[in-house]
């Protein structure tokens, strides 16, 4: 009886079929993400490359020539006191806002994740400001914070507190803008924290309770360590967002008093769009991008370390 060599052939066919199927699935998947990739490349990657190239040129709008000037824009930037001033203001704003946003959104998430009455209402109310535009938020808050007619100072006066110059004092103008931003934006990280909290297995809390851990200890030794990836996500995305602050200072304070709330993006906007120095503005954008990358790497190192260990 002759042995029919069906085994390897069948396996080979199955393997080939699986490979073809995987390839087809891959192609199908790729086609599904193609619109996003196409628009991402056209509207994000390509402009970013153009901005980097532009930063090496003396690029003034509508001028016929855009001569290559090497690193001159970056040299000028390093000697531009307004760049350093705006970077300092922006960094202070970002640090205050990220810390405030993270703490408040985490606290709010811890509250609204509990089975309390009107739980859904609280979630909606906390999230609702995120839906507002920056212009609406800033116009409303510029009225609230007005020293003479603002409702905040009105309520404080009921407790005998003298009118606070929320946006007129250089020492408190950035914390004031930060306060506005936290009110506006803490709803989104709250949602992220809620998702993070829901992913923590309940049995870990039960085990901690059996071991005699109180509420604080359960939060400290169970919740926080397991929320570390969520905290990393929140702080990284928040830092990137708040280093690009523009509307709040532009609308509420105009960068003042003096230049106490003048931010990097304001400096970039004025340089590129009001003074038409697109090349120099592009250099600022590239430099800010580098600052963001460095800060993100630092955060990954700081928050990601224990994960790796």
């Amino acid at each position: 009886m002759q042995k029919v060599a069906t085994g390897p052939t069948l396996q080979g066919r199955i393997g080939q079929f699986q490979f073809t199927l995987r390839r087809q699935e891959a192609v199908t998947g790729f086609l599904f993400i193609l619109p996003f990739v196409a628009f991402f490349v056209i509207f994000r990657v390509w402009p970013a490359i153009q901005a980097i190239l532009m930063s090496f040129r003396q690029w003034e709008v509508l001028m016929p020539e855009h001569p290559y000037i090497g690193l001159n824009n970056f040299r000028e930037l390093m000697n531009d006191d307004l760049w350093w001033l705006s970077l300092r203001n922006t960094s202070l704003f970002a640090v205050l806002t990220v810390i405030g946003n993270t703490l408040i959104s985490l606290a709010a998430a811890l509250v609204v994740i509990q089975p309390i009455r009107f739980q859904t209402l609280y979630r909606v109310v906390f999230y609702a400001p995120v839906l507002l535009s920056v212009s609406s938020v800033c116009v409303i808050w510029s009225w609230i914070l007005n020293k003479e007619f603002g409702v905040l100072n009105y309520f404080l006066s009921k407790f005998g507190i003298a009118p606070v110059p929320w946006t007129a004092d250089p020492n408190i103008v950035i914390p004031s803008l930060s306060l506005v931003t936290i009110w506006w934006g803490f709803g989104f990280p709250m949602l992220v924290f809620m998702a993070g909290l829901q992913a923590i297995p309940e049995h870990l809390y039960e085990a901690a309770k059996i071991d005699g851990a109180n509420a604080w200890q359960r939060f400290r030794f169970v919740t926080l360590p397991l929320l570390r990836p969520t905290i990393l996500f929140v702080t990284v995305t928040q830092f990137i967002a708040h280093l690009q602050v523009f509307g709040q200072s532009f609308i509420i304070t105009g960068g003042g008093p003096g230049r106490s709330s003048y931010t990097v993006i304001m400096h970039l906007y004025y340089t590129a769009w009001r003074f038409y120095r697109m090349g120099y503005g592009a250099a600022m954008a590239v430099a800010l991008g580098i600052v963001m990358i460095v800060l993100t790497l630092i955060q990954f190192r700081f928050f990601g370390r224990r994960e790796e260990e």
């Binding site: 073809t20 199927l21 709008v61 946006t167 003042g256 003074f275």
Partner: protein, 450 residues
């Protein structure tokens, strides 16, 4: 095998259709839509086949007045339709610039005279010499008020058609003046009198004036004066003391001159020595004036709408800006000027010119927006009962108005000094430090411009 490609092909076709649909949607011009949804900042006038776009930064009640004038033009000229888009000046400059870069600017747009060099040097403004009678055009050049008319010339070429003059005056609250025993129809004659008036008009919570024992400067309930918008207030004061921000040849920054120090010191003293004006940061001068808590406000001609339409109960008088400096009277004056792009031609150019001429002739109607007509014959026709502020401040423009410096870097120059002056007046920098910093920044801009 062939059947397995069906979902793949379906996905590919779907993706392709989706992308094409999105691109079509993105590339559809608003004007081409069958039923465009007009936002409040867009006004359509007329239904004629010749379509013009007219952009401006008139977002207040002046924008409504402008739209009415354009609608009247379209009514009289049924062959034309005009889409007027009004947006905040900051957005407006961004959008105008983008449209010029894209080669699709509006057929008519509004700017100020000081922005002519900024745009003219880029070659995007259409010249308008042939619009005036000295070059055979229909507009009488001698009827256009100085000093603005001369300020619309750059490198020997005239740009734009002036429709108004607007600038800085002094607005006083009659009720507060009368309560202090002062006559609101009499303008303070000089710095000394201005401070005396302001002292009489400033009150703390105990009803004391700044020159009285026990006055509490931290608890003022009624201010005699204020700084208001820094640029025109400071520039007017600087000119009055004989200074300017740059030298006559435009090559040297001069803001930290002796005149600059005197001007800034005068404004600083109003706040911190005489205690008759609040630090500018966070102070809402308009609402304080409307609340009868501010007696004198340096403000623009456009303030008329605020005190007449928005606050009809206010009892006010407008004057030309008083002379605070020791050299000459001076007040900041600017203008709204209509332009068309250099690339415009054919019938659209003809209609843009006709619309500009028409708007220039409607100065009396435009005066209801508070601005001073750009033409002398129209100023002479202003009714004193209806247009007291236009007349009083307009007269000051003719007598001692100083146009803002028109330079390729005018926006940048203002941005260089304004925050420094703000810092000094909010006590964040000394006067010396602020003026020296402003001078260095201005000089850097001038040096870069060659």
């Amino acid at each position: 095998m062939r059947r397995s490609f069906v979902p793949l092909a379906f996905a590919a076709v779907s993706v392709l259709l989706l992308m094409v649909a999105m691109m079509m949607f993105m590339s559809t011009p608003v004007l081409a839509q069958e039923n465009p949804t007009a936002t409040p900042i867009v006004a359509e006038a007329g239904t004629g086949a010749i379509q013009l776009r007219y952009w401006n930064g008139l977002t207040g009640s002046d924008g409504v007045t402008m739209n009415e004038m354009v609608a009247k033009f379209a009514e009289e000229n049924p062959e034309v339709s005009i889409r007027v888009e009004s947006m905040a000046w900051a957005t407006y400059f961004d959008k105008l610039l983008t449209s010029l870069v894209a080669g699709d600017p509006p057929e008519l747009f509004l700017l100020h005279h000081q922005e002519i060099p900024q745009f003219a040097r880029l070659g995007v403004l259409g010249a308008t010499d042939d619009m005036f009678d000295y070059a055979g055009g229909p507009l009488p050049a001698a009827d256009f008020a100085e000093p603005i008319f001369s300020a619309t010339v750059y490198n020997g070429v005239r740009y734009g058609v002036v429709i108004d003059n607007h600038g800085w005056g002094l607005w006083v609250n009659n009720d507060l003046f009368e309560a202090a025993g002062l006559d609101p129809s009499v303008r303070p004659a000089n710095a000394e009198e201005y401070i005396r008036y302001a002292t009489l008009l400033t009150l703390d919570a105990n009803g004391k004036h700044p020159n009285e024992e026990g006055f509490d400067p931290e608890n003022v309930v009624q201010w005699g004066a204020c700084i208001s918008w820094l640029k025109p207030t400071f520039l007017s004061t600087l000119w009055q003391f004989g200074g300017d921000i740059v030298s006559e040849d435009g090559k040297t920054a001069t803001i930290n001159s002796e005149a600059g120090h005197k001007a800034l010191q005068f404004l600083y003293d109003l706040i911190y020595v005489h205690h008759v004006a609040p630090p500018p940061a966070g102070f809402d001068s308009w609402q304080t004036f409307a609340a009868n808590k501010l007696a004198m406000i340096p403000e623009g001609t456009w303030f008329r709408n605020f005190v007449t339409l928005d606050n009809p109960d206010l009892n006010w008088t407008a004057h030309g800006l008083p002379q605070w400096g020791d050299v000459r009277p001076a007040t900041w004056v600017s203008s709204h000027v209509l332009y068309w792009p250099a690339s415009l031609s054919g019938e659209k150019l003809e209609w843009a010119r006709k619309l500009a001429i028409y708007l220039s002739e409607q100065g009396l109607y435009w005066a209801t927006s508070g601005q001073v007509p750009g033409r002398l014959s129209q100023r002479a026709e202003l009714d004193p009962e209806v247009f007291p502020s236009n007349i009083a401040i307009g007269r000051a423009f003719e007598e001692y108005g100083v146009p803002e410096l028109a330079s390729p870097y005018s926006t940048e120059l203002v941005a260089a000094f304004e925050p420094e002056i703000d810092a000094a007046l909010n006590n964040l920098k000394t006067i010396d430090q602020a003026l020296n910093d402003a001078n260095d920044r201005i000089q850097a801009i001038l040096d870069r411009g060659g």
